[in-house]
């Protein structure tokens, strides 16, 4: 920690910023978000921009717990403040974020991955969620399942930044909240892209919970090939518990349907009464049932093989106008954790290249990587970005054909893949 600080200050003295140190396979990446410094050592081989974005998300999650202005005030008063005192009890949020970031392609592409759902059902649910005039301080109402957004109702004047949604969804699905036996949680949270200086209140309740036994699975992560992110602040020692707690972090992959109501005011009773009424309404008209059935039966995800495109193994399609992605569930040969990690890293590498994130010169429209096991291609156009993984023996023409076929399929299914025209109030 002392060395890190010495290094950083040497560069700061020259009006420069230390970005990263390469040492063989190991890269040490730094992110300075005064008053905090973030440091990550990784030997996984992902582009530097990816590590930086992970550290940036970590910073946003910390801001969601202690606002930017609180942080500034505290460190102005006491430069040697131990931040762990303020984060006490919030470690699960950071651990679940670390687990999530590793494989979450929506976070990697700064977009949203909504739950695939029948369009008319989505619309019906969204309409039930439009708040009444009594709910005067309501900011956003979000319905989530499987860690994905089903619908989002917002005021006309505020849109919501994808990063805020990711932080919020991570918060909702961290064990402190999702495993809580309470019927509702009411937590102060800061949405850093909305307002880094203040808290809003989040009312979180799960409308439908599956059997407790099926609710979570234990994560088993091999230790050797993992990028170890550690939070470091200017005067905060790295969290010594990080390494161990991380392995016992439970990732929730359940079909619990969560209703999240973000309010600028403190009127818990009003929010609760309204949420109870909404829940009743969704129950009565059968949409909650329909939703639960869709989630439980796996209709909310699809496989690449269902598209019937020769050689296609996986893809990520980002609609740039919706700022949303859609992707199939990982299947053979990418169904193991290691294989998923490898493919996600390849996606990140291609994404980094076509966005010239690591200072590459010129914007590429198309980038193709051929490994022994597959071809990964990234293609950027005005309306969309597409990343496809294909069998390695495919000729070039077939690669292009497959990419075109994916875009045609997405166009056709757009209605249920993306969240469009969610109501505003």
């Amino acid at each position: 920690m002392g060395i890190v600080q010495a290094l950083l200050s040497v560069f700061l003295d020259d009006g420069d910023k230390l970005r990263c140190i390469n040492a063989g396979r190991l890269r040490i990446t730094f992110l300075l978000r005064s008053p905090l410094y973030y440091v990550c050592a990784s030997s996984w081989g992902e582009p530097e921009s990816v590590t930086r974005s992970h550290l940036e998300y970590l910073h946003l999650q910390i801001l969601s717990i202690v606002t930017a202005s609180q942080l500034r005030r505290i460190f102005e008063r006491r430069t040697n403040f131990d931040l762990r005192r303020l984060l006490d009890g919030s470690e699960p949020f950071l651990f679940s974020l670390l687990g999530r970031m590793e494989l979450d392609l929506a976070m990697a592409t700064s977009s949203l991955n909504c739950l695939q759902l029948d369009q008319s059902l989505r619309v019906r649910i969204a309409e039930a969620l439009v708040p009444t005039s009594k709910m005067k301080d309501t900011l956003y109402i979000i319905l989530v399942a499987r860690g994905q957004v089903i619908t989002l109702v917002r005021p006309k004047k505020h849109s919501i930044h994808p990063a805020d949604i990711h932080i919020l969804v991570n918060t909702v699905y961290s064990p402190s909240i999702v495993n809580s036996p309470a019927s509702a949680s009411w937590i102060p949270v800061c949405l850093p892209k909305f307002n880094p200086a203040g808290f809003v209140n989040a009312y979180i309740t799960f409308l439908h919970r599956p059997d407790a036994d099926q609710k979570y699975y234990q994560r088993t992560t091999p230790e050797n090939n993992e990028s170890a992110d550690t939070t470091g602040a200017s005067h905060v020692a790295e969290n010594s518990q990080g390494a161990t707690s991380r392995h016992t972090t439970r990732l929730v992959e359940d079909s619990g349907i969560g209703l999240v109501c973000i309010s600028g005011g403190g009127e818990f009773e009003t929010v609760r009464a309204w949420c109870d009424i909404v829940t009743q309404k969704l129950n009565d008209d059968g949409s909650l049932d329909a939703l639960a059935r869709a989630v439980d039966s796996g209709k909310t995800s699809y496989f690449a093989s269902q598209l019937g495109i020769p050689g296609l193994r996986h893809f990520v399609y980002k609609s740039r106008s919706h700022v949303q992605i859609t992707l199939p569930a990982f299947e053979e040969p990418y169904d193991t954790l290691d294989a998923k990690r490898r493919i996600v890293t390849l996606y990140q590498t291609v994404h980094d290249a076509i966005h010239a994130k690591s200072g590459q010169t010129g914007n590429l429209k198309l980038q193709c990587i051929r490994t022994e096991k597959e071809i990964v291609m990234g293609w950027i156009t005005q309306p969309f970005e597409l990343y496809v993984v294909l069998s390695p023996r495919l000729p070039k023409a077939a690669v292009i054909n497959a990419a075109n076929a994916v875009t045609r399929w997405v166009k056709k299914e757009e209605g249920q893949l993306f969240l469009r025209d969610a109501p505003v109030f």
Binding site: V66, R85, L86, D88, G89, S90, P92, S174, P175, S176, I177, N179, S180, P181, A182, S183, A184, S185, W186, I187, P188, A202, Q241, G266, E267, F268, E269, T270, R272, A273, D276, I277, Q280
Partner: protein, 257 residues
């Protein structure tokens, strides 16, 4: 004794109750034992506050506890008034194996007596009494499960597990029962030693609170819609009461109570 409500309910009285106390003394575990008769080791710390309800039968009355289980971390302290402002009862929890947690409990009691509803019923609960019982059950005496208990503490507040470790379980106790009892009597509190793990004393707290709550007073004030602290909030609460009760009844089959 307190019992889950069953069958027809004529009149149920809503009692708002808040749990306060230092981090990791077992507030959530106390509520979980009361609401679902369960115990979870290695519980994650509560964030903000969690809301739970439980019905409780007392003679011919049914009480519906609306429970605010608050987070004990210091950074949430400023939010506490939001929860105790309209509360009719409070359970202030400390950990019998940690002397400082009683000091924190005392400061909560002081704050409640100064700022909460003047009629508030306050109970003091010394939790984790299973850790200091030699004769009770096998769990307390075997060294292996004892270290498990300590591990529970460690997860909730890293680095704050009881300083006295090993030896006789009784040596873990840092707050003598008599001392806490004397303080409770002096301050006019109900007092219990509890174990959320074994269930000891948990139902008793809520039953004794129920007996001490001025039920007629609550009924009168909610009916009339006046004379209740909170002004506008109180009135709105009165209007919603019927809705909530009906919902609770229709939901009852689905939940644990």
């Amino acid at each position: 004794m307190a019992d889950a409500a069953s069958g027809s309910v004529d009149r149920s009285v809503q009692v708002k109750l808040v749990l306060l106390g230092e981090a990791a003394v077992g507030k959530s575990s106390v509520v979980l034992r009361f609401v679902s008769n369960e115990f979870q080791a290695n519980k994650e710390p509560t964030i903000g506050a969690a809301f739970l309800t439980q019905k409780c039968r007392l003679e011919d009355r049914v009480l519906r506890y609306e429970i605010w289980d608050t987070a004990g971390q210091e950074r949430f302290h400023s939010l506490a008034p939001m929860y105790y402002r309209n509360a009719q009862a409070a359970v202030v929890v400390y950990d019998v194996t940690k002397a400082t947690s009683l000091e924190k409990a005392k400061s909560w009691v002081k704050e409640l007596q100064r700022q909460a509803n003047p009629n508030i019923v306050i109970a003091l609960a010394g939790n984790k009494v299973d850790l200091v019982q030699t004769s009770a059950m096998s769990s307390g005496s075997t060294p292996s499960s004892e270290s498990e208990d300590e591990a529970d503490d460690a997860t909730a507040t890293p680095g704050e597990s009881p300083s006295v470790s090993g030896g006789e379980p009784e040596s873990l106790r840092q707050v003598p029962r008599e001392e806490a009892q004397a303080y409770a009597t002096e301050a006019g509190l109900l007092f219990f030693e509890t174990s959320a793990k074994s269930g000891e004393g948990i139902v008793e707290i809520f039953t004794e609170i129920a007996k001490k709550i001025p039920i007629e007073h609550i009924l009168a004030s909610t009916r009339g819609g006046a004379g209740r602290s909170g002004g506008a909030g109180g009135r709105a609460g009165g209007a919603r009461e019927d809705v909530n009760l009906e919902e609770q009844q229709s939901k009852k089959d689905g939940c644990n109570c």
